[in-house]
Symmetry: C2
Subunit: 204 residues, 2 copies
Amino acid sequence: MTEPKSKNIVWSQSEVDVQSRRAVLGHGPATVWFTGLSGSGKSTLAKAVEVSLVKRGVRAFVLDGDNVRHGLNTDLGFSPADRTENIRRVGEVCRLFYDAGLVVLTAFISPYKQDRCRVRSRHPSGGFIEVFVDCPVEVCERRDVKGLYRKARAGEITDFSGVSAPYEIPSEPELVVNTAESDLATCASEVLACLEERSVITAV
Amino acid sequence: MTEPKSKNIVWSQSEVDVQSRRAVLGHGPATVWFTGLSGSGKSTLAKAVEVSLVKRGVRAFVLDGDNVRHGLNTDLGFSPADRTENIRRVGEVCRLFYDAGLVVLTAFISPYKQDRCRVRSRHPSGGFIEVFVDCPVEVCERRDVKGLYRKARAGEITDFSGVSAPYEIPSEPELVVNTAESDLATCASEVLACLEERSVITAV
């Protein structure tokens, strides 16, 4: 972390600590970070996991890449610097949700390893769970739900991860799910199992 | 709202709506926005209300001005433009917490009326509750918990709200609490009563 630009600011300690929140809520906080190409199924998977978690009484919430660009990060585009700032801010929001005791699920391409590492470093050990949503670019392109690959190939969109901009595959994610080979329900249950193993939630 | 800088982004609708979250949680979402001079008691009051709410089983969380400047808004200072961006981002984070079903309590000087109005406009009607933490600048200065007024008077801090920068008093806040005339417990119970009246929480 670099020094904050503002001087004369003092950390204000919450009167409610993480353990108290965990006790009240019955589950731990976590940031579940889905990363993968556009069209790999991050949002779909995150939303499916969210529904399952909420049904189980877990306070879960999806932070979606596109939605955040409509609000918090409305001033950012897709240049490398803007992508980095996009992920930095989202990471800080995740940390706030984490401190509030929630399980936050993010759906951001987040192509740069360094950006993801920085978000990880802003969480207590074990609090950041990286899920690589693995899907070959050919399959993503065939799906092309939003028609973006077509535009990227036509040169109408530049800086498109996996086509005209890099996507750096996670080297040590907590979980890899393959949405080309497994269906949505299977992938979602793999994520839930991972959260159980890590004692974020209790097994049902 | 201005147009997002990013094109080709699509709003992703959550599978879990506000009503479902309310039903599960047993309380409504709200953004309770404390505004007032430095030293007026915003953080102290927000934290006291948070403790009471959590005891009552309400998912509440304080967003503190100084803390956010250590994280999300570490790149921002106290110039008018930076203050505006500070509040804009925090407002968007509030909206995310709101969507997640929480009662978020903020403690930001937020001196500009326009900035606060913009945050209000980003919430559904009734979702934004502005609490003016009223306290004469002389009293705040006498308290001077962080020693900031002394520095501001000595010219060591510029752009200090109420001294060398404006503080615009809310014209139609949902609640005014006076921390110079009432003690902490009284002010906190006034906030809780306001949340009950507005059906955010149920009376105990």
